[in-house]
């Protein structure tokens, strides 16, 4: 019965939760944004360095559950070196697989490792854990200075 839980907590999730990538403060970031999930108190601070539409570097700090930490970590890995438009497109795909809305047409291969978080769609209460980092990134790309909330 705990086998089913492995759909959500895959080894990649545990790995990124234990050793989050790009988990650091970024001096000289061009964008810095606070993300907050008021339901569970998860907070992240996301740092982005953008140069001419290209995401040169992205990092984060904060505390959250395994799902939100792994999602943030995976996100920083995948969007680094992408253009803003490519990141937006990834967010849209990611949102679709995690909420299960219009997810049939999504080719999971396009999402790479992010696909491991598709299991979250079976846990409506946890979807916001997975999308917190992405909502924060979207706000950072739009240069919204205020705190981002998942609510």
């Amino acid at each position: 019965m705990l086998d089913r839980i492995r759909d959500l907590y895959q080894e990649v999730v545990f790995d990124h939760n234990r050793n989050p990538r790009n988990f650091r403060v970024m001096p000289g970031a061009s964008r810095k944004i606070e993300g907050f999930n008021p339901l569970c108190g998860d907070r992240i601070t996301l740092y982005v360095r953008i140069n001419d539409g290209l995401i040169e570097d992205v990092s984060f700090q904060g505390s959250g559950c395994a799902i939100s930490t792994a999602s943030a970590s995976l996100m920083t890995e995948i969007v680094k070196g992408k253009t803003e438009q490519e990141a937006e497109r990834l967010f849209e795909l990611f949102h679709r697989i995690t909420t299960g809305k219009n997810s049939e047409a999504v080719n999971l291969e396009d999402l790479g490792k992010l696909a491991v978080l598709a299991g979250v769609r079976a846990y409506p209460a946890r979807v916001k854990c997975a999308t917190l980092a992405w909502h924060s990134l979207q706000a950072a790309l739009k240069n919204e200075a205020e705190t981002v909330s998942t609510e």
């Binding site: 019965m1 089913r4 839980i5 907590y9 545990f14 108190g41 907070r43 559950c65 930490t69 946890r126």
Partner: protein
């Protein structure tokens, strides 16, 4: 104590708490009979189900409790046989329903041992009760520079209404601190009382920590300075007998849904003298005696504070919930839950990496904890897969989380229908969580 409970407690290592023979004749009139979990559980239909293929272990009673058949049947009967709008009706159903509604008020009066039934105001829940006091008592009696004193362990519903009042009036919200066990620092509380304090509003039992506050001492200190006291009884009322006259509290707030009754119904108790001196909270039907376009004369208590058609059926069913609690005896419930908490605490502390949040000497049946390197939300999701319902989060007490330096806790909260086997399931479940996380 019946044999099942005796055997169960023996099996769980409580023989020392029991006499060699049970119960000794000399105490026969004083010792409350133990709860029979099998019989109690049969009264709660929802408990008999599987979650993810495992028997439901419901340990989220501090958030809301389940309803006994008596409450569900009462609701059905009201709507099938007795329902109509209350007050002023001359037809039979309206009179019958009015009698049931007012009888429920009298049941609440007896439950709290209030002096008068008109001191019982039906509201939506504890939140509305506190907002009523803040907006009616607060806006008429509290002004700029006055102080309202609360504690650092309050639920948001006993913080935010006062902050709103402070914004409206220029009053100041003072917060008495707690210590690392989650106990109110009474010396600091006393120091925080000043000539400007106009109201003390304190939780009777903390939903996040389980702490039961020394409300008698709090009330004595406040009354010595002529300051009225509101007690937030949302958590306390389901777990211990409350006597508002013996406590001499000025207001007492509670929620029906935490008392094995329906959601959407709650109670504000207020002393007659205070309630009479307060302006209405909302205007509308039922709360008036005479209306003209020039002037309106307000109705007497309790109707002055019950504008509009009340939550009739749920109020009547709350009465049924109180009857149910009376039939099992709150003393027996308190005794059962104290044993569950003692057992759960002892077993939880044997788990490496587990830290309890809230270790007050005087505690209700709430076990809030964290695990090293595992977020409470992950604990909650994995326990759910084992059929175990706990709450993970800030429990509407963010300042408490900040004080303990945690983003959230996992919280198991017990009710009258929980068993020692369910504590075992929780402990095994926590061990599985740790295993899954490696």
């Amino acid at each position: 104590m019946n044999n099942d409970a005796f055997a169960q407690q023996q099996a769980h290592g409580y023989p020392e708490a029991l006499p060699d023979f049970a119960p000794p004749p000399v105490h026969r009139g004083l010792v409350k009979p133990g709860l029979d979990p099998a019989k109690i559980r049969a009264d709660f239909p929802i408990l008999d189900q599987s979650i993810h293929g495992k028997p439901l272990v419901y340990l989220d009673n501090a958030a809301s409790t389940h309803k006994p058949k008596a409450v569900i049947d009462c609701l059905r009967k009201v709507y099938e046989e007795d329902y109509s709008n209350v007050h002023r009706g001359v037809h039979t159903l309206s009179q019958r329903c009015t009698e049931l509604f007012e009888a429920a008020r009298e049941k609440v009066q007896r439950f709290l041992n209030a002096k008068h039934s008109h001191e019982i105001i039906f509201v939506r829940g504890t939140t509305e009760a506190i907002n009523l006091v803040a907006q009616s008592y607060g806006r008429s009696k509290i002004g700029a520079g006055d102080e309202i004193l609360i504690t650092a362990m309050e639920h948001h519903s006993n913080i935010v209404p006062w902050q709103m009042l402070c914004e409206q009036t220029g009053a100041v919200l003072k917060v008495a601190p707690i210590d690392l066990r989650g106990e109110l620092r009474m010396d600091e509380f006393e120091r925080a009382l000043s000539d400007r304090t106009k109201l003390v509003s304190v939780v009777h039992m903390s939903n996040a920590l389980g702490t039961i506050n020394p409300v008698e001492d709090i009330i004595a200190l406040a009354h010595a300075r002529g300051v009225p006291v509101l007690l937030d009884g949302a958590q306390a009322a389901p777990h211990m007998a409350v006597d508002v006259q013996a406590l001499d509290c000025d207001f007492y707030a509670l929620s029906g849904h935490k008392l094995y009754g329906p959601s959407g119904i709650g109670v504000l108790y207020g002393k007659e003298k205070l309630l009479n001196a307060m302006p209405p909270y909302q205007g509308g039907g039922d709360m008036i005696r005479r209306v003209t376009f020039e002037k309106t004369e307000y109705n007497a208590l309790p109707y002055k504070f019950e504008a509009g058609t009340p939550n009739i059926a749920d109020a009547i069913a709350l009465g049924a919930a109180l009857d149910y609690l009376d039939s099992v005896s709150l003393a027996a419930v308190a005794d059962h839950e104290a044993r569950l908490l003692e057992y759960a605490t002892e077993r939880a502390l044997s788990i490496p990496g587990l830290s309890l949040v809230g270790t007050a000497a005087h505690k209700g049946a709430i076990l809030a904890f964290t695990l090293d390197r595992i977020h409470p939300h992950d604990i909650g999701t994995i326990l759910d897969h084992l059929g175990i319902a706990v709450r993970a989060g800030h429990h509407c007490a963010m300042p408490v989380m900040d004080f303990f330096g945690v983003p959230a806790t996992a919280r198991a909260s017990f009710g009258l229908y929980n068993t020692f086997e369910e504590v075992d399931a929780l402990i095994d479940g926590i061990r599985q969580v740790i295993k899954v996380f490696g």
